[in-house]
Symmetry: C2
Subunit: 169 residues, 2 copies
Amino acid sequence: MHSIVAKPLTADAFAPFGSVIQQAGAPHFPINAGSTERYHRLAVTQACQAEGEDNSAQTIISLFAGQPFDLPVTIELMERHPLGTQAFMPIDGHDWLIVVAATDSEPQPDDLYAFFATGEQGVNYARGVWHHPLLALNTVSRFVVVDREGAGNNLHECRLSEAVLVQGE
Amino acid sequence: MHSIVAKPLTADAFAPFGSVIQQAGAPHFPINAGSTERYHRLAVTQACQAEGEDNSAQTIISLFAGQPFDLPVTIELMERHPLGTQAFMPIDGHDWLIVVAATDSEPQPDDLYAFFATGEQGVNYARGVWHHPLLALNTVSRFVVVDREGAGNNLHECRLSEAVLVQGE
């Protein structure tokens, strides 16, 4: 079976796939007369209208509760959202796993990359970026999710020609 | 000094001011072949274009770190965002305090309402709703914030004619 090793999530390594939502290294400044520090614009959302559809696309906020996976994780299916970004920010402080593919066409096993995110790190998948559905680790983990709702098909799925095993370092 | 008592935050009580982002009572359904439960569309964002401005308005994701306040809290200034919603979801699990005003014109002391939010509850202030800047309680608390960025003035501030004291029950 094709196998990859998950690497620590960094903004640079993740740049081809979207933004990392984290305080470390982020631009920040005081607001509210100094009582709040704003770590600003860590991600920008997109919610595009589907071609020929009405003006229904919205950016919405949801909560996800993800069942935990155990390493090594077998990856068989990838998905992408052609009409919008999708952001995940953990709210329980637990580490989690991210698997993405570096291709615009149907992902092949060689295209996959895996990242370990800490419980302090969220991501915003750029529009159309192939990624695996949510992979909590160790324990049930909740996330704030910011994504698109509206008319049109915003979900592509692709079953890999061969499963990929994601291992820890 | 005018004084109000903070009440527990509920979706019904907060409805005139926006949405409560919480799992309790929310519509939810399994996704990702059952490995994730989605608490869906707890809030809808808005990022309006300012009149006569370019097409620059975006919905962005930031992190706020709020210094703690102690009860009773003295409220002197309120603010609102006429061009967009603003959502706050705690990520450290700490309780926090919300102060809003039930008026479209400049808020008077009699217009204020205060709510205790648990660390499991976020809110999305509806567009144009007067609210106090972030009020963490007890300890420094971090929040995911989803709000608008773009050309035009999206901040109105109003100093109250008389300070209002917010007390616990």
